[in-house]
Amino acid sequence: MTTTGLSRRSFLAGLGAVGAATALGGCVTSTGSQATAGGSATGPVTLQSNLSAPSAKAAMQALVDSFNKKGATQASLNTVASETFRTQLPTYLTSANPPDVLTWYAGSVARSYADKNLLLDVSEVWTGLSGYSDALKQLSTDSGKQIFIPASYYFWGMFYRKSNFAKWGVTAPTTWAEFLQVCETIKGKGVTPIGLGADNSTPWVASGWFDYLNIRVNGANYHRELLAGKHSFADPQVHKVFDQWKTALPYFDPKGTALSFQDATTNLLQGRTGMMLIGTFLLDTTPKEDVDDIDFFRFPIVDPTMPLVEEAPTDGFYASAHTQRKPHTLEFLKYLTTAEAQEAYLKSSAGSSLPANSTAKDAGTPLITKGKEMLTKAADLTQFFNRDSSDALQPTADAALIKFIQHPEQIDSILTDWQSAAKKVWTS
C-alpha cells in the first residue's frame, strides 16, 4: 500500500464540505430561468398528450399527421401515461422549455393555471371562429381572454340495454318517482337495478351521482359555487342532496364499491345490473355487437321547477405561456379548431365523444345524436367534479361519497369531515 498523502482526517473534512454544500435547500423550489414567449426556436410544435389509451393515441397521431400534410409547419406528438401527465403537469408548465401545446380539460382546472400566467392567451385563435357555441367560449375564457381550445366533449346519462328493459317491461323514466318505480320493478325481476363501479381504482364514478343530484336539487350555480369553496359541504342544501340519494341507495349494487367501472360495465352488458350512471366512454369498451343495444335516459328530474342542466366534460388543448414557437403554436391551434381536424380525430377514436366544432360530423349514431340534442337543449352545462373544482378536491369527494354509499347513516359526520378536508384544500 503506497501512501498517497491523503489522511483520513482530510478525507473526512472533504466529506463535511460536500455535506455542507448539500444544505443549500433553497434550490429545490427555483423554477429555472423563465424565458418569455416569442423567442424563435426551430423544430416542430410539440404536442404533449395524456391520451394513452391505444385508440385515443392512434387518433391523436392521425390528427398530427393530417396537420403535417398541410404545410411547412410541423407538429410532433409525445404521449405520456395519464397519471404521470397529471402529476407532472405543473413541471411541464413551469419549465424553461415547455411543450408548446398540451391536452387537458376545461373548467377551473385550466383556469387555475391561467391565473398563474402559465397559459398562452389564444384569443386571436378565437376571433372570427364560427361553429362554437357561446357556452364553449365562456368555458374557455379566464379574465376576459381565451386560454383553452375545446376539441371534444361527451355526456353522462343513465345507460341501459334496450333489450333488457323490454324484457323486464320497463320504459325509460323521466321523473325521480318514475325512476324509483322502474328500480322496484327491476328488483322484482331479481336483477340489481342500479350498477356502480366505484372501487379504490375508480372512485370518481360516484362523483357523477353527487354532481347530478346537486344540480337537480340545488341548481348549477350552487353546484359550481360549492365546488369553488363558496359554500360549506355541511350546509343543509348539501344534506338535501344526500337525503334524495338515500331514497335510491337500496337499489344500488351492494358490491358497487368493490368493482372498477370497467367491471361494472361488464355487469351492465351481461344483464346483472339494470342501469348505470356513466359517461359515453363506456362505449369504448363495449363489444361492437352490443353497441346498438345501448341506450340512455337523462338523469331523472327531481325538482320540476329547476332548469335542466347536464354534465358535459370538455377535453381540449391549451398552450404554454413560455412557448418558444408562438406563431407556429397558434397556427397549430387554429388547425385544431377546424371541423377537418376534429373529424380526423373522431374517425380514429371509438366515436363516443362529440366534436366541439358544431359543423364537424360526429359518429352519427342515434345514441350520440340523442345526447347532442340533450346537451344543446340544456339550460346550462357543468363539467365534472374534479374539472369544476380541482384535482386536489377530488380525493376528499371520493372518501366522503364512498363512505356514504357504504354507511349512509353516518352522513352528518361524513359531511363535517368533508368540509374540514375541503377547507384545507382551499386554504392551501
Binding site: 500500500m1 503506497t2 501512501t3 498517497t4 498523502g5 491523503l6 489522511s7 483520513r8 478525507f11 466529506l15 460536500v18 455535506g19 448539500t22 444544505a23 435547500g25 433553497g26 434550490c27 429545490v28 423550489t29 402529476t87 405543473p90 413541471t91 408548465l93 413551469t94 393555471y113 398563474k116 402559465l118 372501487d199 379504490n200 381504482s201 372512485p203 358490491k255 364499491t257 368493490a258 368493482l259 367491471d263 384535482d391 386536489a392 377530488q394 380525493p395 371520493d398 372518501a399 366522503a400 364512498i402 363512505k403 357504504q406 369531515d417 378536508a421 384545507k424 384544500v425 392551501s428
Partner: protein, 309 residues
C-alpha cells in the same frame, strides 16, 4: 459445514511508541467509496435535505413557496387522517414486521437441513421477492375481487358468511393488503436468517445435545443469541420496508376506501401528488424518516451497549 468467516485483511499495525503513523487509504478504496457516495449525495441526500427545507414551506409546485415555519407540523397533530395513517403504520410495523420476522425464521429453521428437494422450497419461497410489487398487487387484486379466488374458495367450503369485499370493506382492507406484502417479505427474511443460521457453529448444538438440552432450549439458548447480529439487520430491513411499503398498498387500494388502509407513505404520496400540498407532504416525509431513524437507532444503541457489556 463449518462457517468460514474471513476477517478483512487488517492494516499493518502501527509501530509501537509515541511516533504516530497516519492511517492512509488506497486510491482504489477511495474510488469505490466516493463514487457511490457522490451519487447518493446528489440523488438521495440532497433531495432529502431539500425535503426538510420544504417541510417548513407551503408550496403547490407551481407558484413560489411561502414559509410557514412549523405550521405544517402543527397541522399534523390536528389532522385525523394523519392520526389514522400513523396508527395504521404502527399496526403495519407490528403485524407485517413481526409476522415476517417470525415467519422468515420459521421457514429458515424448517429449510435449514440440506435434504433432497429443499432447494426447490427455498427457491419457491424466495420467488415472490423477485416479482415487482405492482405485478404482485395486480394478481392479488384479482384474487380479492368479490367473485375472485378467496370468496370462491370460502363459498366452496361452506363459509359463505366469511365472504367480504376484501379491498373495499373498511374493516378488512388493511389486513387484506398485508397478506401480499407478507407473502413477499417472508422469503426475503428467510434468506437473511438462513445465512445467519448457517454461520452458527454446529459443535454448539452437539455440546448442548450431550448436556441433555431439549430442542426448544437449544433454540432459545443457542440459536437466538447467535443470531443477534442478523437480528439487527433483519430489524432494520423490516422497519425500512414497513415504512417504505407503498407500492403494494397504492396498487391495491390507494389508501382507500376512505383512508381505511392509509399508511404514512400513501398519505404522503396523495398529499404531494393529488392534493398538491408539497410542503405538508414533506413534513410527513420528515416524520417517516424520524420514525425509522429513531427506532433503528434505539435498537442499535441498545444492541451495541449489550455487546460491550
Amino acid at each position: 459445514m463449518t462457517a468460514t468467516l474471513t476477517a478483512p485483511a487488517a492494516a499493518p499495525p502501527s509501530p509501537a511508541g509515541p511516533r504516530r503513523k497516519r492511517r492512509t487509504l488506497s486510491p482504489t478504496l477511495l474510488a469505490f467509496v466516493l463514487v457511490p457516495l457522490l451519487v447518493e449525495s446528489l440523488w438521495v441526500f440532497w433531495p432529502a435535505i431539500q425535503g426538510v427545507y420544504l417541510s417548513f414551506t407551503s408550496w403547490d409546485g407551481v407558484s413560489p413557496p411561502t414559509m410557514v415555519g412549523f405550521g405544517n407540523y402543527a397541522e399534523l397533530f390536528s389532522d385525523p387522517t394523519f392520526g389514522k395513517a400513523f396508527l395504521d403504520t404502527v399496526l403495519w410495523l407490528v403485524l407485517f414486521g413481526g409476522l415476517s420476522a417470525v415467519g422468515g425464521l420459521a421457514m429458515a429453521m424448517l429449510l435449514l437441513k440440506d435434504r433432497r428437494g429443499v432447494g426447490f422450497y427455498r427457491a419457491a419461497l424466495f420467488t415472490p421477492v423477485v416479482f415487482s410489487l405492482v405485478a404482485t398487487a395486480l394478481i392479488w387484486q384479482a384474487i380479492y375481487q368479490p367473485n375472485g379466488l378467496v370468496n370462491t374458495v370460502l363459498g366452496a367450503i361452506g363459509l359463505d358468511s366469511w365472504q367480504h369485499s376484501w379491498l373495499s370493506d373498511a374493516n378488512t382492507a388493511l389486513y387484506a393488503v398485508i397478506v401480499p406484502a407478507l407473502w413477499r417479505q417472508i422469503g426475503y427474511i428467510m434468506v437473511l436468517y438462513l445465512a445467519g443460521l448457517k454461520g452458527i457453529d454446529p459443535t454448539l448444538y452437539e455440546a448442548a445435545t450431550v448436556d441433555g438440552a431439549t430442542k426448544w432450549q437449544q433454540f432459545t439458548k443457542i440459536t437466538l443469541p447467535q443470531l443477534s447480529s442478523v437480528n439487527s439487520v433483519v430489524l432494520s430491513v423490516i422497519i425500512i420496508d414497513s415504512l417504505r411499503s407503498f407500492d403494494v398498498v397504492w396498487a391495491l387500494t390507494r389508501g382507500g376506501p376512505y383512508h381505511s388502509s392509509e399508511l404514512l407513505s400513501t398519505y404522503m404520496y396523495s398529499t404531494a401528488f393529488q392534493s398538491l400540498r408539497l410542503g405538508y407532504a414533506s413534513a410527513l416525509a420528515v416524520v417517516i424518516f424520524v420514525l425509522a431513524f429513531g427506532v433503528i437507532l434505539t435498537y442499535l444503541v441498545r444492541a451495541f451497549r449489550d455487546a460491550d457489556a
